[in-house]
């Protein structure tokens, strides 16, 4: 194991008393997630590229009935964990975060505005990119041009569902409504605009802008830009930012801004 690996195993198993550790490491010349327990070799840990670990966490979590899980968590991981814990999908008492500040190279790749988690345990924080240039360009376009742009982009979609599979807050998995014909009736591939509009709506109160969807898309559709635009709308209209640990969703509250906290947390 490398230095970073040694540091993390000590932090996770000795300091935080976790039972498991979730990291990203080098494997076969590329990056892969690793879920290790106390006495395993964590390998060559690498965090110099974007990788949403919460996607992995949420998929394996149902199969780990007990034990504390330490996860190396960047800002986006932290937000994703908040989104999942407030919906009862993860038990926050079982998750311990090791805060990782992203390096400049990674932050650039994600066009991230704020690459610093709330508590930094590893890494030197860097400044983020305040404005996404693609979003700025799209907002300046006329409505007609923008629609032409997105139609051209969405024609590349082949319904691989890579965006949903890699999304950390997309927890519907097999029950995803986008796989059905009722609401997204276009049988064709590419699936038509309704698919992307419905996804944007469903993501509006969850998306933490990690950019995994864009990186996963084989058609190179700039999905992150669309998510950013919707995020800006949510912020403007409802002062809501996904990753908010308290409010589940402004779409489920009354006009006065009252949060129905206790009702929801029944689950």
């Amino acid at each position: 194991m490398n230095d970073l690996g040694k540091k993390l195993t000590k932090m996770a198993f000795e300091d935080l008393k976790a039972d498991y550790l979730l990291v990203v490491r080098q494997e076969h010349g590329d990056l892969a997630p690793a879920f290790i327990s106390k006495d395993e070799d964590v390998g060559e840990v690498r965090f110099d590229a974007p990788y949403q670990l919460v996607t992995v966490l949420s998929r394996i979590y149902p199969h780990i009935p007990t034990g504390k899980i330490a996860i190396v968590s960047r800002k986006c991981d932290e937000l994703a964990i908040n989104e999942l814990t407030k919906r009862g999908i993860l038990d926050e008492k079982r998750i311990v975060k090791i805060g990782l500040a992203c390096d400049g190279h990674t932050a650039d790749k994600c066009r991230c505005p704020d690459p610093k988690p709330s508590k930094v345990d590893i890494g030197e924080p860097v400044k983020g990119i305040p404005e996404d240039p693609l979003v700025a360009k799209l907002m300046k376009m006329t409505l007609e041009d923008r629609l032409k742009y997105w139609v051209r982009q969405f024609k590349k979609c082949n319904k691989c569902f890579g965006c949903t599979a890699n999304c950390p807050v997309c927890f519907c998995e097999n029950q995803c409504v986008l796989g059905e014909r009722t609401l997204v009736s276009e049988k064709s591939i590419p699936p038509g605009l309704a698919f992307h509009l419905v996804r944007s709506f469903h993501m509006s109160d969850k998306c933490i802008e990690c950019g995994e969807c864009e990186r996963a898309c084989p058609g190179d559709i700039p999905l992150l830009a669309l998510r950013r635009m919707v995020h800006a709308d949510m912020k403007e209209m409802y002062k809501f930012v996904p990753g908010d640990p308290k409010t589940v969703s402004p779409l489920l509250t009354t006009l006065e801004g009252e949060v129905m906290e206790d009702e929801h947390n029944v689950c």
Binding site: Q175, S185, N265, C267
Partner: protein, 564 residues
């Protein structure tokens, strides 16, 4: 494969004068799953209904569509008709081509016919996906709660306890009687109020089923028809909870206080009708008086008539003359509202006994001034076309009855609507009076609309009659428009739980899988959960996503094709 029958109604000229009914029927024949399409002159008539039943039998139909007026009136009729012919009544779909087509596109018959075709296509698409439903039942607690111990509340209570129904009455004052406590005699026939109230209360108290909660208010109400829980809190802050099957709202109104009209509050000797009642009860009778009717009512912002004030003034005018035969009493009015034989007779009597009636207009209001120890009144009489001056010692302002101060709070607790003025809105003025759209809650008396005492009593009896129906039946039918969760599609995200306004949904675990569960008796069928559900797991009976999506598809297909 569903077998759909489509029946287009002419409704006489109402639909057929604009919509080409035959063309619509021809078009309907081309739609998928439609086995027969016909048109009738009046589908709701015995003949029309019979023709539909015959067609159901002959063509072995299992889905029926009627394209006619509005489902809000005739849906129950056509549903029962289907049932008679052996088709589950929820396999019926109503398409509105009268209120929504022929009556509003009267000058565009071609476009109206096209629109009717589209709507029928949408209805057919939905009908093909309808599922048979059964109404489920919920039991009813055989107790009634009446809020308000005025005359209408008491009338309701007497009717309920005389049927042997356990009834709780909540009254915020120490005594029963409401506004009538302050009125000694009720017009038009000069009935003694105390006798009336005492008699009613005595009769009620004879029953062991009658329970009074005086100096108390309703502080909370939960539940639904048949299963309400009402929290009653006394002035001493002690609370008790009463479970009930029906609730009657009889909270009454209050006399509006003038804001300085005609010198009220500034010039002594100007009083309201209730103040006059109190004075007359003490024997303090004016030597001469002027009544001014419609003060603060029948004007913009409060444009209603309170119905009883003319009779009240006439009654009080006659009382003044009886006590002091030489008294000069004048009633200044903007129309006299004394309807019914008794009231008309009393009005005539009053005029014959010397009460003067003068009509004034809004553009020439009576002028009031202090004049020595008394008051002077100058009014332009419309009939005489001249200004008349009078000297009086008392001016009585007949003001409207308005809702009580905190009526909105009560309305919110009961989850029932009030109109702009604050009077309660019943379900439908003609088809469903005295009851709210919220089942199990009823309204009577002046909280609903200012009324005469006899009308309040009648409404109280009516509300009691309606309230006793679910109590006597012991059960209520729940219309199958409730929602349910498809466990296979549910991921227990909790959106529906948060969205439900009735807190009818919870997350439970079945066979190791967490999912949402709807308590059907609490579900009112709003469908909020359906829209909140991202996974298409929540479905509303009769309005499923497949059904509504099919309607959208039908519109797209038929409209786009037509425009191609």
């Amino acid at each position: 494969m569903p077998r759909i029958g489509v029946f287009i109604c002419h409704c006489g000229h109402n639909i057929a004068s604009t919509v080409d009914v035959e063309k619509v029927a021809e078009f309907a024949k081309t739609l998928p799953n439609v086995v027969v399409a016909a048109h009738n002159m009046y589908s709701c008539s015995e003949e029309g209904l019979g023709a539909i039943r015959k067609s159901i039998e002959e063509n072995k139909l299992d889905r029926v569509i009627v394209a006619a007026c509005t489902p809000r009136t005739h849906e129950p009729l056509f549903r029962r008709n289907c049932e008679r012919a052996g088709v589950n009544k929820y396999l019926f779909e109503f398409v509105n081509i009268r209120e929504h087509v022929s009556w509003i596109h009267a000058k565009e018959p071609e476009a109206a016919t096209e629109k009717a075709k589209m709507l029928v296509a949408m209805g057919v698409a939905k009908a093909a996906l309808l599922e048979p439903q059964e109404e489920s039942e919920s039991s009813v607690i055989p107790v009634a709660v009446i809020i308000g111990g005025g005359i209408s509340g008491l009338a309701a209570m007497s009717a309920l306890v005389s049927q042997g129904i356990e009834t709780h009455l909540i009254e915020k004052e120490k005594q029963l009687g409401g506004i009538l406590k302050d009125i000694a005699v009720i017009g038009p026939e000069m009935k003694n109020t105390k006798e009336l109230l005492d008699k009613m209360i005595k009769e009620i108290k004879c029953s062991p089923k009658a329970h009074f909660h005086l100096s108390s208010r309703m502080t909370d109400m939960q539940g639904f028809v048949g299963n309400f829980e009402v929290t009653i809190t006394g002035d001493d802050k002690c609370s008790e909870k009463v479970k009930a099957g029906a609730i009657i709202v009889a909270i009454g109104g209050r006399e509006w206080t003038p804001k300085g009209e005609f010198g009220f509050g500034k010039i002594p000797g100007i009083i309201t009708q209730l103040e006059l009642e109190k004075r007359l009860a003490k024997g303090d009778v004016p030597d001469n008086a002027v009544f001014i009717q419609c003060v603060g009512s029948r004007i913009p912002g409060r444009d209603f008539c309170s119905r009883f004030c003319c009779n009240a003034s006439i009654k009080n005018a006659l009382r003044i003359i009886e006590a002091k035969p030489n008294a000069q009493v004048t009633i200044l009015h903007r129309d006299i509202m004394s309807y019914g034989t008794t009231a008309e007779r009393v009005y005539r009597d009053a005029a014959e006994k010397g009460v003067r009636f003068m009509r004034y207009g809004l553009d020439s209001l009576p002028k009031i001034e202090k004049h020595g120890d008394g008051l002077s009144v100058e009014v332009f009489d419309e009939t005489l076309d001249d200004v008349i001056g009078m000297s009086v010692d008392t001016i009585v302002l007949a003001v409207p009855m308005v809702p009580i101060e905190n009526v909105k709070d009560v309305a919110t607790q009961l989850k029932v609507p009030v109109d702009k003025l604050g009077f309660f809105l019943e379900a439908h003025v003609k088809l469903r009076p005295i009851e709210f759209a919220t089942e199990g809650v009823f309204i009577c008396g002046t909280a609903r609309w200012p009324s005469q005492v006899s009308e309040c009593i009648a409404q109280g009896l009516g509300a009691a009659a309606k309230a006793s129906i679910p109590i006597r039946e012991g059960k209520v039918k729940i219309e199958p428009i409730t929602t349910s969760c498809n466990i296979g599609k549910c991921i227990a995200c909790g959106n529906c739980v948060a969205a439900c306004p009735y807190q009818a949904i919870e997350i439970i675990e079945t066979d190791g899988k967490r999912h949402a569960f709807v308590t059907e008796a609490k579900c009112k069928g709003c469908g909020n959960c359906v829209a909140a559900c991202n996974n298409d797991a929540m479905q509303q009976k009769g309005f499923t996503t497949t059904q509504l999506s099919a309607m959208i598809d039908a519109l797209v297909k038929n409209a786009m094709e037509a425009s191609q």
